[in-house]
């Protein structure tokens, strides 16, 4: 499976490492080359400096042949925009993005973008832990 990940933060770098070990072809994009230090030392995929809301950068990252696109930057809106470009312009079959704001997540889910809100998920986990 060919995967393009946008945002090489802790989550992005970790996901890239996990998929890479399983033998998937991974390309990770970040606007700051310094972020790539988070990738595991034996990472065999491609790390590219580029902006995931820019069509040219996405093309360079191989979005046209990608099976999966994951948007994991710190900005909800950037994630949402990149995810929509991947889905509607490049027709990537599986597009997943992170949206911290739960209400915005709901809206974009209803618009056909598969989105996860760490806010809701983590609050739920914490609540269950506390109640046990």
């Amino acid at each position: 499976m060919k995967v393009v990940i946008m945002g090489c933060g802790r989550v992005g770098a970790r996901l890239a490492g996990l998929l890479d070990i399983e033998g998937h072809s991974v390309t990770i994009l970040d606007t700051d080359a310094h972020s790539f230090r988070r990738l595991p030392p034996d990472f065999s995929g491609t790390a590219l400096v580029g902006d995931g809301v820019d069509e040219e950068s996405l093309k360079k990252a191989g979005i046209e042949e990608a099976d999966v696109f994951v948007a994991l930057t710190q900005g909800d809106n950037r994630n949402v925009m990149a995810a929509q470009i991947a889905k509607h312009i490049f027709n990537v079959s599986k597009v997943v993005c992170r949206i911290y704001d739960p209400l915005r997540r709901e809206l974009y889910n209803s618009l056909g973008i598969e989105a996860f809100s760490p806010t809701t998920i983590f609050a739920q986990i914490l609540k269950e832990k506390l109640e046990r």
Partner: protein, 220 residues
């Protein structure tokens, strides 16, 4: 009309001021407390502090009854999301987004934004017009029809000087509508009109045949 403006920077502020002067009901949504205070002190209580992409904020300001929603922050992605929330969550009939990166124009259109205004393109076009040697200037885009109105200047040594319009290999879909000559009234060209040096030709064309039109009018 009730119009919501997201972003209280220079564009947002002057836009709100102009719309207020026209008698509209305006609300500006701005994150920054200093800008917020500035706008309220200049224009009255027409600015609230908040994130214009957040459903909660937009509910609070009554986006559901807005006639128009204009996002003019400096970030393209924020403008996109604000307009999409307004459109899909609150069914605002008309959404307008400012964009800085001209490449985003097509993307925004595809993602359902009614109107985009590209500040970069507007500045470029204005500067192009002022550069005397520039062969072709965009004057106007008629987006729904895929047409544009352009101006082409005929340089003195062009091979087309002295030729009639009917001799020019004009591309399909391009129409010459006006010739402006110094010291004369503008003329509507016919097939027999002879081109002169320094003519300014106003033409309608498609983006695809723009290059062919330029070559046809100016020669090689």
């Amino acid at each position: 009309m009730y119009i919501i403006v997201v972003g209280g920077g220079k564009v947002g502020y002057y836009l709100a001021r102009a719309l207020l002067d026209e008698g509209h009901e305006i609300l500006v949504v701005e994150k920054d407390p200093d800008r917020n205070e500035f706008i309220c002190s200049e224009l009255g209580s027409v600015c609230i502090r908040g994130d214009g992409c957040e459903v909660a904020t937009l509910t609070e300001v009554g986006t559901g009854r807005a006639d128009m929603f204009i996002a003019v922050t400096g970030d393209d992605e924020d403008n996109l999301v604000a307009c999409q929330v307004a459109k899909h969550k609150f069914n605002v009939p008309r959404t307008i987004a400012r964009i800085s990166n001209p490449k985003n124009e097509a993307i925004f259109k595809k993602l359902g934004i009614d109107v985009t205004v590209s500040s970069t393109n507007i500045i470029l076009e204005n500067i192009e017009q002022e550069v005397p040697t520039h062969p072709l200037t965009h004057l106007l885009n008629i987006r729904d029809k895929g047409l544009e109105i352009v101006e082409v200047k005929i340089p003195p040594h062009s091979t087309t000087v002295g030729k009639a319009v009917k001799e020019l290999p004009l591309p399909q879909g391009s129409v010459l509508s006006l010739i402006i000559r110094s010291q004369q009234k503008p003329i509507v060209p016919t097939a027999d009109t002879i081109l002169q040096a320094e003519d300014q030709i106003i033409a309608a064309t498609t983006p695809e045949s723009e290059e062919a039109l330029r070559t046809a009018l100016r020669g090689f």
